[in-house]
Amino acid sequence: VKFNRLRLTGFKSFVEPTELSIDEGLTGVVGPNGCGKSNLVEALRWVMGETSAKSLRGSGMEDVIFQGTDSRPPRNMAEVVLGADNSTRGAPPQFNDSDDIEISRRIERDAGSAYRINGNDVRMRDVQTFFADMNSGARSTAMVRQGQIGQIINSKPQDRRKILEEAA
């Protein structure tokens, strides 16, 4: 399963549908302060099933919905889709019957989040399990958030030990 694209609509500052292609090797993301780079990272963690609004810098999960600017009104819906090439059919059995996999999460004001895999409604836990089976996930060591290095440095030894648990 090769993840190869991330599509955002109405997610934080990415109000218009935006697609980031995730190709092989090293992809750099650059730009001035506040332009949206970390928002991209959070979109990926969000579609992987991140449950803590605080870890996405919000007080509630609806804080990820585009909240408008001086010149545009807020939106009521945010959606992120993570697409993958599954031509080698390495996906978990229940999602392994197509060459392409799309995992999507959508949130609507006052209606919470809805998850889908290849168009089928699934529970959040199914999405989290899917990514865990890929050695991936919103909280895996593979997702190094801005400031997380500082947190590890300053963490209490007991909290730091928890980082090992992913390898166990």
Binding site: V1, F3, K12, S13, F14, V15, E16, T18, E19, L20, I22, D23, E24, G25, L26, T27, G28, V29, V30, G31, P32, N33, G34, C35, G36, K37, S38, N39, L40, V41, L44, T69, D70, S71, R72, M134, N135, S136, S140, T141, A142, M143, V144, R145, Q146, Q148, I149, I152, I153, K156, P157, Q158, R160, R161, I163, L164, E165, E166, A167, A168
Partner: protein, 162 residues
């Protein structure tokens, strides 16, 4: 439970020691489980000896040295079960140019080893120059983000803007 954590500790420790020496171009470091006989209750302490210096608790190292040491730990765990995508958000912020080069060398070697696709957010011109491709995020309209593909030569200009 306990056995698995101790086995994980051994594997992660071996990775950690190797990665530290790779990132620092020398020296050594070690992980220690402390404060409890029970690994499920223990604390994880880190001791490091950059090249030419004395072994110290990680807390006495410089900001940049601590960042490299923490990165060694993160990748040490990562390598036990490599993920298909790895995202690094401005982890090179406290590094000087020499350390940025070694950081990029390490990421390239991990990519060779695991086939992982890396998404690296950075303000460092040197890191940008080591990427296979670059995307810029702009806010031409205030508060609205847009993604653009950047020519690797154009990168210098965008580094100047951010």
């Amino acid at each position: 439970g306990r056995e698995r954590l101790l086995a994980a500790f051994d594997t992660v420790s071996a990775n950690f020691e190797r990665l530290f020496t790779q990132l620092f171009g020398g020296g050594m470091a070690q992980l220690r489980l402390v404060e409890s006989e029970d690994p499920l209750e223990a604390g994880l302490e880190i001791f490091a000896r950059p090249p030419g210096k004395r072994l110290q608790s990680m807390s006495l190292l410089s900001g940049g040295e601590q960042a490299l040491t923490a990165l060694s730990l993160i990748f040490a765990v990562f390598l036990v079960n490599p993920a298909p995508v790895c995202v690094l958000d401005e982890v090179d912020a406290p590094l000087d140019d020499a350390n940025v080069e070694r950081f990029c060398d390490l990421v390239h070697s991990i990519r060779k080893e695991t086939g992982t696709r890396f998404l690296i957010i950075t303000h460092h011109a040197l890191t940008m120059s080591r990427m296979d491709r670059l995307f810029g995020v702009t806010m031409a309209e205030r508060g609205i983000s847009q993604l653009v593909s950047i020519d690797l030569n154009q990168a210098e200009e965008l580094a100047a803007a951010g």
